[in-house]
Symmetry: C2
Subunit: 245 residues, 2 copies
DNA sequence: GAGTGGTCTAGACCACGGG
DNA sequence: CCGTGGTCTAGACCACTCT
């Protein structure tokens, strides 16, 4: 504390100090998206701070979306988020590409299940009615950013599961079944990624995320699609443009 | 681990174990919104786990929005979030009350400042044009849930700062100046509450939050209001209902 | 096998809240 | 003033990744 060697003087709290210093190096462009940070034990030695304190600072930067971790590999500078307008009926693939990023989709599972009371209510169908359930994981520039579970009414989309869902579901519904969307009901809430979602995104349980739930209706008021998405919190910015009713 | 005294056996990781146990007590209703948890040192003794590990579990529950802390007072069970539709031109006060909760507003500051280049661009006015800046803190049931900075064009709202802003700004703009909103551009991003925002909300720096930015236009396309809000992540759920263009 | 982050312990002192 | 959470230390071992 009394050695004036570098700029090592710590004015305030150690972890905020180190957070600010790293944030400045990222903002200045000295550290660029994708760059790997020094390991926690290296930082520990360099800064003369206990590892727990180092980690406290790293968690803050992670919460701010500036850095992220790859399990047991290291800490990396985050790429910029993609902008997402959940009210628009255009697919993930098209808006990610429009932003100059590389999207990818993986189908985790696809099956037809009987409607439970909640989904029966959503679709306005009897309990037990067949519904297609599709789970997908989606990537931007090679990083998994969201997992989603889509439910569609099997009565409107016979043989849907014969398709490949690694491409655009939007296109399949439109071209294959003449279904298009006239209205979206979207709800979003910050959440913690845990259990199945955390595993699928390969993040530590408890990382902040964003849960998005969307119900899409066609012009006749039928539910075309019911979608639950879990996003990495640092991967997305929501943007909505609306006329006031 | 080998004593079968209670249900104290730990199957997995200690902090996830304790998170799940507390989450279950909250879900079951044994712990209700507003209830205070046992202190960290009490939990340490009761569960036979180091305090750092206890805290790790508490942080997870905090990230999930199930509990929150009052600085150096203790941990409490969170109340349910309020539902917020940022595209609607109705005030905080009315939608909070409509949900059976008690809103409150505090004006932190109100001043007229010259437009910087960014705000000049937003308002389509020259740099240096006078803009009213209003900072407010808003509460639900006595808990501070958001801070906001509102900017309005002084040319459209002469003498605006003579009003009290502890009431509805919506009403003032409509009744006092005939300004109403036809279009909203809203952008949201998970963030970390730090510095000024964290202080104002009296939360620890680094707590996850939601940053909302809204630009409101009237029917003539003039910018009526530019608003930056920082919410506690556990206090709000966003809901949007739109027709597809 | 070496290096990384992930988990955990057992202490310590501090700053602030509230009775 | 006491109890609380907030910060910090200095270790340890584990599970996984990467090469």
């Amino acid at each position: 504390m009394t050695k004036g060697e570098n700029d090592q003087r710590l004015e305030g709290l150690h972890y905020l100090e180190m957070r600010d210093r790293l944030a400045a190096r990222i903002a200045s462009g000295e550290l660029k998206p994708g760059d790997k940070l020094a390991s926690e034990r290296r930082l520990q030695d360099e800064l003369g701070i206990a590892r727990g304190t180092i980690r406290e600072g790293l968690f803050q930067l992670e919460a701010e979306g500036l850095i992220y971790r790859r399990d047991r590999s290291g800490w990396y500078v985050s790429p910029p988020p993609v902008v997402y307008d959940p009210t628009r009926w255009e697919g993930f693939i098209s808006y990610v590409e429009a932003q100059g990023r590389v999207p990818a989709t993986e189908t985790v599972s696809a099956e037809t299940l009987a409607a439970d009371p909640f989904l029966a209510e959503v679709f306005g169908r009897p309990v037990g009615a067949p519904l297609h359930h599709i789970r997908r994981r989606r990537h931007v520039d090679g990083r998994a950013v969201l997992v989603e579970q889509i439910v569609v009414d099997a009565a409107l989309t016979p043989d849907l599961l014969r398709h490949s869902f690694d491409q655009s579901l939007t296109e399949i519904l439109k071209n294959g079944y003449g279904l298009s969307v006239a209205r979206n009901l979207v709800s979003m809430q910050p959440c913690a990624l845990t259990g199945r979602e955390a595993e699928a995104l390969r993040v530590k349980s408890g990382l902040p995320g964003l849960a998005v739930q969307r119900t899409s209706y066609d012009a006749q008021g039928r539910v075309v699609e019911f979608d639950r998405e879990h996003w990495r919190h640092d991967a997305v910015r929501i943007s909505v443009d609306t006329r006031v009713r």
